[in-house]
């Protein structure tokens, strides 16, 4: 097992260019949670030329909606949701400065092309280990779309959040490569 590389948000161009599919990373810094409806709203705001409730350039979005925070904790259980549902909105966000996404599952050819064109990266995290992942979240603050409940946008401070580079700026796709490698043809 390789030792994971520690990286910090906001992600610099240099760091993004140096990340390759299969690299294990520990991410620290600010990330925004946003998923289905929040993406639609961000997308529509961009189309209308309205101001966004988050600072999109250089940001990282974590496709996640945590469980309610119990007393005495920074956050409830939290982990990645499936990313493909955000694919329709993602190229527009990348075009407007989004530099990283944390989720699970494969992305569309359009997203993979946008990562190459604008220099951004897609990280995969392990799904369904949300009690464990919550330990990497130091702080959670509600930022926008409170009416969406769990789907609201929150700013998280994460520390050494484990992830793996799935899609890099070179068009590589770890899921496709790994599955091809391990497939058995009888």
């Amino acid at each position: 097992m390789e030792t994971p590389r520690k990286i910090k948000t906001p992600l610099t161009e240099e760091v993004i260019a140096s990340l390759h599919a299969g690299d294990m990373v520990l991410i620290s810094g600010e990330v925004y949670t946003a998923r289905d409806v929040a993406h639609r709203r961000l997308y529509e705001a961009l189309l209308k030329g309205e101001a966004l409730p988050i600072d999109l350039p250089k940001s990282v979005i974590f496709y996640a909606a945590p469980t309610p925070t119990p007393p005495g904790k920074a956050i409830g259980s939290i982990g990645p949701t499936t990313s493909y549902r955000m694919d329709f909105f993602t190229p527009k966000l990348i075009e407007n400065g989004l530099k990283g996404m944390i989720g699970k599952g494969s992305r569309s050819p359009e997203v993979i092309a946008a990562l190459q064109k604008y220099g951004a990266v897609y990280f995969g995290a392990i799904g369904g280990i949300a009690a464990l992942s919550a330990r990497c979240v130091q702080k959670a603050e509600l930022i926008a779309y409170e009416d969406l409940g769990p789907e609201a946008i929150r700013k998280l401070i994460i520390v050494d959040f484990p992830a793996i580079v799935i899609n890099d700026t070179l068009g590589n796709d770890l899921y496709a490569q790994a599955q091809k490698k391990w497939r058995v043809n009888r």
Partner: protein, 292 residues
């Protein structure tokens, strides 16, 4: 069914109060979300030496560590605490009193998701407005002999449910067609449903019955073969090998362990049809039950 045997001699009508149903449903959903079944933990433990990929092994270890932390700290294992699916087996000699059964179950769900700090993940399909309390529950009812009430709570995550599928095959497709459809469904799902998964297969009945059979198949303990039909035992084995040969692996990051179990259920169908449903379950395979 055990519960049928136990109550065969007693034809006496038994009253069950809605309040008891509410508190039971509440307890079951909190438990299901925080404590993984022993059969699943055992299956994960057994899968570890079978996994040859180092990354795959690490994912399996983290899944087990997470189940342990969740259970000890009473935190939900997954942030997706699911749509509240409830299976009821109502003895025909049971009389539900003190309210309305549907409302009693929804109230149990409401209390579980509020007091258990579980995520409310139910919304209007078109406006996407959250119902705020994770209701309504999805309720499946079977009327059985006896005067007991069996309640099964199954919080079902959206990620794995989204990767599930049903198809009306032609009778000519036969068992090869069924296996092909199951394998295609799992392959297409890839990393999305949080592998290692469990696969429930429903064969026959009607469109909706095949789907219900597939979901019920997921309630059978991991590692237990179909006890009713030898043909399904064989099909489960072949699909188990075929799915693990896909190489999707833990977390979809490649490896030998893609599924922990394939459970199939079957019933007769129309002479024109061959309905098949595939219900995919993530590794957080949650369900708890109680007999009142």
């Amino acid at each position: 069914m055990n519960m049928e045997k136990k109550t065969k001699k007693t034809a006496k009508v038994r009253q069950i109060d809605c309040k008891l149903i509410t508190t039971t449903v509440k307890k079951l959903f909190i438990e299901a979300n925080t404590s993984l079944g022993k059969d699943v933990i055992e299956a994960l433990r057994k899968s570890l030496p079978q996994e040859e990929s180092a990354t795959g092994k690490e994912v399996l270890v983290k899944i087990m560590e997470n189940a342990d932390i969740a259970c000890r700290s009473k935190m939900p294992m997954c942030q997706d605490t699911g749509l509240a699916v409830v299976f009821l087996e109502i003895g025909q000699d049971v009389h539900i009193v003190g309210g309305n059964l549907r409302e009693a179950i929804d109230e149990g769900v409401r209390q579980a998701y509020a007091e258990g700090y579980l995520r409310k993940s139910v919304c209007d399909p078109l406006t996407r407005k959250n119902t705020q309390d994770n209701t309504p529950a999805i309720i499946h009812v079977d009327i059985v002999a006896g005067n007991r009430l069996k309640i099964i709570a199954m919080p079902k995550g959206g990620g794995s449910e989204n990767m599930s599928a049903a198809k009306m095959l032609t009778p000519a497709a036969g068992s090869d067609g069924i296996k092909k459809f199951v394998l295609e469904t799992v392959e297409q799902a890839g990393a999305n449903p949080c592998p290692p998964i469990m696969v429930g297969v429903g064969i026959g009945g009607s469109l909706e019955e095949a789907c219900i059979l597939a979901k019920k198949a997921l309630l059978r303990p991991v590692g237990e073969a179909n006890s009713k039909d030898e043909r399904l035992v064989q099909m489960e084995k072949e699909l188990y090998t075929g799915i693990n040969d896909l190489g999707i692996g833990p977390g979809g990051l490649g490896g030998r362990v893609t599924t922990l179990a394939v459970n199939a259920e079957m019933m007769p169908c129309h002479i024109a049809s061959l309905p098949v449903a595939v219900n995919i379950q993530c590794h957080v395979a949650r369900h708890k039950e109680v007999i009142l």
